[in-house]
Every structure is written in structure tokens, then in C-alpha cells.
């Protein structure tokens, strides 16, 4: 009981007792001006710090508790609030307990002319024994350039920098079967109207840009392929590269009207920038930023009714680059 009283008295003394700040000896002028004490603000700062400490203590507790629902939220709230309480304490200290003097001072000199001159002189005078300056400069420049080139040469190993053929390569060649994600061959009868299918070349890397296809089947009277794509479709089935020619996203939207008379016509759409292509017209751009039609793959139906490529795409696959239209894709 007596102990509790002692503790109580001690804490009251701690809370209320204030230390007189000792000034420097003698009547020397202060550097930081004096200000009135603000006991209320002091108490508030202490309260904020205690609150911060409590929140900080809660963090390891929440951390230690397994299978706590909303653990991330509790952790974030405890740590975040702890930090915010400290912030409040500091800001309060800055505003109420610390003297905020506004003092003046000259800006640094704009320039030091004598020093500048001295620097120039040092450089000039140091080189006074050189007589063939121009030649020397040339030699230094040559060496610097050559060494620079030598030092950046290994960067070329990072990738096939001058060889553009990989950009034209696709796994497609005549006779290659079209398979689905689980490597099952597509049969022509699998492909139905008003639906879209993702196909890959049998046995090739599915992730390569030149691999994936989007297949759709259109009623034959709706196919209006340009002359260069005649014979690309097989029984109304058309195959296009699944990679948008604008920025390389996958074309995973097929706009397939249920009732043609009253609804937008069929289109393949890329969800990144909404480039819209016409599957009935050889992949022509209908809307959106793509600057090149969607590459079309010629397909045919073999004797077993399975779909196979008749050759390669009619244009390079994926986003365009400088000179992209000059060559056809190769296997």
C-alpha cells in the first residue's frame, strides 16, 4: 500500500516536476533565444510518445500470433499509427516546445572571380611545357574514343544486336499441326462459329510471340479476304497471330454478335489499347492504334480432319519495328 503511494507520488513528481534549465555560466548572450515553457504541450508530447510506444509494442504481438485474421491490417495499423504518433509528437515539439527563430544570413557569394582566375592559371601554366598541343589533343581523343569503344564492346554479348532474323522467325511451317494448350490437335469440327480458340504449333515453345494463334470460324459468305489472302481459310476457319501488331499484348477478345442485324460485326480486339481487327477481311485494322494488319496464317484440313498450317504468316508477328514490312516471316 505504502509502496503504491510512493509510486504514485513519484509519478506525479515526474509529471509535474520541472527542471530549471541551467544557462551557461556568466551573463553570456544566448545563441538560441529563450521562450516560455509550455507544460501542457510537454504533457501532450509525452502522451503521444506513450501512445506510439503502445502501438509499437502491439506490432510484435500481432506478428507472433499465428492464424490471426487480418494480420496484415493489424500489423500495418500498429506500426503505421506508432510512426504517426511519433510524427505528431515531433511536429508538436517543433511548433510549441522549440523556439522557432527566423534569423537572417547572407547568401553565399555568387562567384569567386579571383579563385576562378587562379584555377585557369594553374591549368594553363601546368601545360606550358607542351608545344604540340593540337597533336596531343588528337592523340588523347583517339585513345579515349578507342578505349571507350573497347570498354562497351562486351555489351554486344547481351543479345543478338545486329541480327534481325530472330524477329522474323516463327515456328510455323507447312504441315505443322495446330494444337491447344494441352497439346491436343485441333480438328476442324472442333472449331465452331461465334467462338474463339487459342492454338499453338505442335511441339514448339508456346511463349514465343510467333507461336500463338487465335482461330475463329466465320460463315463463308461473311469471309471477304483480300486477294493476297485467298486460300488462307479452311472451310470458314481463319487463323491469326494472337499477338497484337501494336504493342504485343495477347488478343483475347472476340466480338461475336449473336444477332448480326442489330449488333457490331465480328472483330478481334486487343485489351491493352483496343486495337480492333476484322477477322473476315484478313485482319484489317478497324479501330485503335495498331498500324499494321494482324498477320494471318494459312491453314488447311488434313485427311484426318485435323488443322494444319499451309505455310508461314503473311507478315511479321508482334509489334512493328523499323523496316518490319520488308521481309516475310521465316521458319
Amino acid at each position: 500500500m505504502a509502496r503504491a503511494r510512493d509510486v504514485l507520488i513519484a509519478s506525479v513528481a515526474l509529471l509535474l516536476g520541472r527542471r530549471k534549465t541551467r544557462l551557461r555560466a556568466g551573463g553570456e548572450e544566448r545563441i538560441v533565444p529563450a521562450g516560455e515553457p509550455q507544460p501542457g504541450a510537454e504533457l501532450l508530447v509525452m502522451a503521444l510518445l506513450v501512445a506510439a510506444a503502445l502501438c509499437a509494442v502491439a506490432f510484435p504481438v500481432f506478428y507472433a500470433l499465428d492464424r490471426l485474421p487480418h494480420q496484415t491490417q493489424l500489423l500495418g495499423a500498429s506500426l503505421g499509427l506508432s510512426l504517426l504518433f511519433i510524427a505528431a509528437a515531433l511536429i508538436l515539439t517543433g511548433k510549441k516546445l522549440i523556439v522557432t527563430e527566423e534569423i537572417e544570413e547572407g547568401y553565399p557569394e555568387n562567384e569567386h572571380e579571383a579563385e576562378q582566375e587562379a584555377l585557369v592559371a594553374v591549368v594553363h601554366e601546368s601545360g606550358s611545357r607542351f608545344t604540340r598541343r593540337r597533336l596531343l589533343k588528337g592523340a588523347v581523343g583517339l585513345t579515349g574514343g578507342a578505349l571507350g569503344v573497347a570498354l562497351i564492346t562486351p555489351i554486344v554479348s547481351l543479345g543478338p544486336v545486329f541480327d534481325m532474323t530472330p524477329f522474323y522467325k516463327t515456328p510455323w511451317r507447312r504441315g505443322r499441326r495446330l494444337v491447344d494448350e494441352k497439346d491436343r490437335p485441333y480438328r476442324a469440327s472442333d472449331i465452331e462459329e461465334e467462338d474463339f480458340y487459342t492454338a499453338f504449333p505442335e511441339g514448339a515453345d508456346k511463349e514465343a510471340l510467333g507461336s500463338s494463334l487465335v482461330l475463329v470460324r466465320l460463315p463463308k459468305d461473311e469471309l471477304d479476304l483480300p486477294p493476297e489472302n485467298k486460300g488462307y481459310a479452311a472451310d470458314g476457319i481463319v487463323a491469326y497471330s494472337k499477338i497484337c501488331t501494336h504493342a504485343g499484348c495477347a488478343i483475347s477478345l472476340y466480338r461475336a454478335p449473336l444477332f448480326q442485324a442489330d449488333e457490331p460485326r465480328p472483330a478481334l480486339v486487343c485489351p491493352c489499347h483496343y486495337s480492333t481487327f476484322d477477322p473476315g477481311a484478313g485482319g484489317k485494322v478497324l479501330f485503335g492504334p495498331a498500324g499494321r494488319k494482324l498477320p494471318m496464317l494459312p491453314v488447311y484440313i488434313d485427311r484426318k480432319g485435323e488443322l494444319r498450317a499451309r505455310g508461314n504468316f503473311d507478315g511479321p508477328v508482334g509489334p512493328s519495328w523499323w523496316g518490319v514490312r520488308m521481309r516475310k516471316p521465316t521458319t
Binding site: 506478428y63 491490417q73 504517426l84 510524427a87 511536429i91 547568401y107 555489351i155 543479345g159 545486329f162 492504334p289
Partner: protein
């Protein structure tokens, strides 16, 4: 005790005079001078949280099958990289908190940089002798944009994969060397070889942060060497005389308070507001995509640019000179940053003002600068909004195609109107001030005259 410590340090380093000067280094007081500090503290949070994440992240594109606790992904094929981030978000205790805090810190870091830049621009703080500081700052902004993009891409979820594909498309579209450059970075065509992720990783956790740190150090050193700019609020403030609060004691608790506030807000967001829930997006494959994929806000202006450009490539006689994504993805930011870099030089050339400036302009004091700045800002912001037109279509049923056409015109017309309006507003505000001052002086004179009359000579 303090005396002992001071004596110890001074006797061994001789830095007491320097430290005293540092303690009494002056900070002119205005809230907008603190925006750069917010960015600095967000950067500290980024480094701290990022280091923790690096303890768990694996930069491998080896295909694995997921068997972790998140049911909807069990049994799916994914890269080791994506699985490691899934683990950070699910099985690593406090991992999700740190990851979300890191992501929020990145978003806030760039927001603070942009706000800081706007303050610097519209008050003319970049003028001689502070052009170097300004150019370092702009360079940091560019590196930070790339740094953020890499962080977003490293996760290898569906959204980051789509973002990388677009980045690849933009790189490829650069005339003359785009394809070579992309081939160098990705080690061949997209999606590149395994080494590509290692390259992104080292760039994200070392090259770019180190670059930012070096630029930041130089930026701060230059600020300190030339001292801060100030608004002219009192008569004693001038081009030669700085008035401010000393670093210690006045500024220290406030700056530290701001630091804790930044960290607190970021951790609080990291715990309470979900950011980039990668477990919901699923793994990326080149052949899959989702609707509504967007980059983080600070690259939103680029997706807007990419979407607004009409569908043509620049082709001469069958030879593609400039593929389409170049305009929105590379030329557009190129123009914006070229403008930012060249502006101090341009302004000096045109105005012929080669003087040193320590006192800031208010926006109204420089109507031309304000008008041009408003033009650029509203141009970028409108393109940014255009990037969200699909969401507006979904939410408010306003046709996307119509919006795109409206934006194609509006991005040129609206900034021009706003620039004219702001120019006019600056002039009017200045004129009103002059009238006000004249009135004030007339009143004072009348008052003085009345007093003279009243006092018997």
C-alpha cells in the same frame, strides 16, 4: 554529457566550426519547400522495404507448379519469380505489409517528385544559379519512372507481363535502332531469355537505386552549397539576404516529424489498402491478357498517348520508318522531358535574363512561364485521363470510341485555352495588386497630411 561528446568529436575530427555552421544552416519557411523532403523520405522507405523484399524474391523464369496455400492458383504453371512474390504475399509473415508499403511508397515517391517539380517550375526556382540542381532532379524523375516500371514488371503476374509486352513494343518502335536495342535488352525477341529477368532485377535493386542515390546526393549537396531560394515575404529578405529557420533546433523536429509522417502514412496504407493483389491476377503467358490492364499511375500518361494516336505507321514505299507506338510511348515523353530539360536555357535565351536569382517568383509574376507551364501540364494530364477512358465507358456508359475522338481534339484545344486563361489571370492579379498598393499609399499619404494639418507647427 553533451559537452563531453562535442569535445570528443571536435578533438578527433576538428569539425566543431563546420558542425556549428551546419546546425545553424537556414531553411526559409514555406510549406511547398517540404515537398522534395516528402520524396526523400519515401525513397528511404523504398530502400528499407525493398531490401527486405529482396531477401525473398527470386529472379528466375524457370517454370514451376504452384502448391502453395492460395487455392485458386494451386496446380498452375508459373515462373519461379511469380511464385516467390506469391509467397511473400501469403506465407511470409508481414511480407504482404512490406510489399504493399513498398508499392505505395513508389506511388507516393513519384507523386511527391511531380508536386516538387511543379513547385520548382512555377516559382522559377530552377533559374541561375540552380540549373544543375534542377537538371539532376529531372534526371532522377526519369530514372525513378524506369525504376518503378521495373518493379512492377519483376513480379511476372498477368499485369506485369502485359506491361512488359507494351514496353517491348515501344522499345521496338524507336526508329533506326529500336529493334537492336530491344534485342540487346531482352536477349532476342520477346519474351526474351532467362537472363532478362536477372538484368531487370540487378537494375531494379542496384543500378537504378544507386543512380538515384548518387543523383540525390549531388542534388542535395548543390542545394546546400547555394542555399535555398525564398519567397519575398518580409522586407529584409532579398537576393543577398536569406531569412529562415536554423536546422537546429527549429527545423529538425519538423523535418523528422515529416519523415515519420511519410513513413506512417505509407505503412498505414500498406496495411489497410490493398495494392496490386497479384494473387488475383494469375501468372502471365504471352498468349493471355485481361481487360482493364493499366500501368501504375505515373506511367498512365503513356498508355493515354498510346491509345490516342490514330492507326497508322509511318511507311515509305513499303519501308516502315516509324511504327505506331513510338508516338505515344517514346516521342510524347521525349518531348515532355526535352521541354523540361531545355526550359531554363530557353527562358534565359528569350528573356535575356542572365542574372542570379535567389528570390522566387510567384506564378503571377511570370505570366509567360505560368501560361506555358499550364499548357504543358494540362496537355500531359489530359492524355493521362485519356488512358482511363475505357474505365469511364464501363462506369458511366460514355462511348469509348467517342471519348477517344473528343480527346484527340481536346488535348490540343483545352491546354491552349487554359494557357490563355492563366496568362490573363496572372495579368489581372498583378494589376489588382498595383491598384491595391496605390490605394494603400494614397490612404497613407492622406492620413499623414491630415496629421500634419492637425499638429500645430
Amino acid at each position: 554529457m553533451i559537452r563531453k561528446a562535442v569535445r570528443f568529436v571536435d578533438q578527433r575530427s576538428g569539425t566543431a566550426p563546420l558542425l556549428r555552421k551546419t546546425l545553424r544552416y537556414l531553411f526559409p519557411d514555406h510549406w511547398s519547400f517540404l515537398l522534395g523532403e516528402v520524396a526523400l523520405y519515401a525513397f528511404i522507405v523504398l530502400v528499407a522495404t525493398g531490401t527486405y523484399l529482396a531477401f525473398f524474391y527470386q529472379d528466375s523464369t524457370v517454370q514451376v507448379t504452384y502448391h502453395g496455400p492460395y487455392v485458386p492458383l494451386q496446380g498452375q504453371e508459373m515462373t519461379e519469380a511469380y511464385r516467390s512474390v506469391l509467397n511473400i504475399s501469403t506465407t511470409v509473415k508481414a511480407g504482404l505489409l512490406i510489399r504493399q508499403t513498398h508499392h505505395w511508397a513508389a506511388d507516393v515517391f513519384l507523386a511527391a517528385i511531380v508536386l516538387h517539380l511543379l513547385r520548382i517550375f512555377f516559382t522559377g526556382a530552377y533559374r541561375k544559379p540552380r540549373e544543375l540542381t534542377y537538371w539532376l532532379g529531372i534526371s532522377m524523375l526519369i530514372v525513378s519512372l524506369l525504376e518503378g516500371y521495373l518493379g512492377y514488371s519483376l513480379v511476372d503476374d498477368l499485369l506485369s507481363g502485359m506491361g512488359l509486352a507494351i514496353g517491348y513494343g515501344v522499345a521496338l518502335s524507336i526508329p533506326f535502332f529500336g529493334a537492336n536495342l530491344a534485342s540487346l535488352i531482352w536477349d532476342g525477341p520477346f519474351p526474351g531469355q532467362h537472363a532478362f529477368f536477372s538484368r531487370m532485377y540487378i537494375a531494379h535493386v542496384f543500378l537504378f537505386p544507386a543512380l538515384i542515390a548518387v543523383l540525390l546526393g549531388a542534388h542535395l549537396a548543390l542545394v546546400a552549397l547555394k542555399h535555398h531560394t525564398q519567397f519575398r515575404r518580409e522586407r529584409r529578405q532579398s537576393e543577398r539576404k536569406l531569412v529562415g529557420v536554423p536546422m537546429f533546433p527549429g527545423q529538425t523536429p519538423r523535418s523528422l516529424g515529416l519523415m515519420f509522417a511519410v513513413a506512417g502514412v505509407l505503412v498505414l496504407l500498406g496495411g489497410l489498402v490493398q495494392i496490386n493483389p497479384i494473387w488475383l491476377w494469375g501468372p502471365y503467358h504471352t498468349y493471355s491478357s485481361t481487360n482493364g490492364a493499366q500501368p501504375d499511375w505515373y506511367l498512365g500518361w503513356l498508355i493515354g498517348g498510346l491509345r490516342l494516336v490514330p492507326h497508322w505507321d509511318f511507311v515509305i514505299d513499303g519501308y516502315t520508318l516509324v511504327p505506331n507506338p513510338f508516338w505515344g510511348g517514346a516521342a510524347f515523353p521525349g518531348v515532355v522531358f526535352a521541354f523540361l530539360f531545355l526550359w531554363p536555357w530557353l527562358e534565359r535565351k528569350v528573356s535575356g535574363d542572365y542574372a542570379f536569382h535567389n528570390v522566387l517568383d510567384r506564378p503571377r509574376d511570370a505570366p509567360w512561364r505560368t501560361a506555358i507551364g499550364v499548357w504543358m501540364l494540362s496537355w500531359v494530364v489530359l492524355v493521362f485521363f485519356a488512358g482511363g477512358a475505357d474505365r469511364v465507358d464501363v462506369l458511366f456508359d460514355i462511348s469509348y470510341t467517342s471519348q477517344i475522338w473528343v480527346y484527340r481534339v481536346a488535348v490540343w484545344v483545352v491546354p491552349t485555352l487554359l494557357a490563355i486563361a492563366s496568362f490573363w489571370a496572372c495579368k489581372e492579379l498583378r494589376a489588382a495588386e498595383v491598384v491595391h498598393r496605390e490605394q494603400h499609399r494614397a490612404e497613407e499619404e492622406a492620413h499623414a497630411a491630415a496629421e500634419r494639418e492637425a499638429t500645430p507647427v
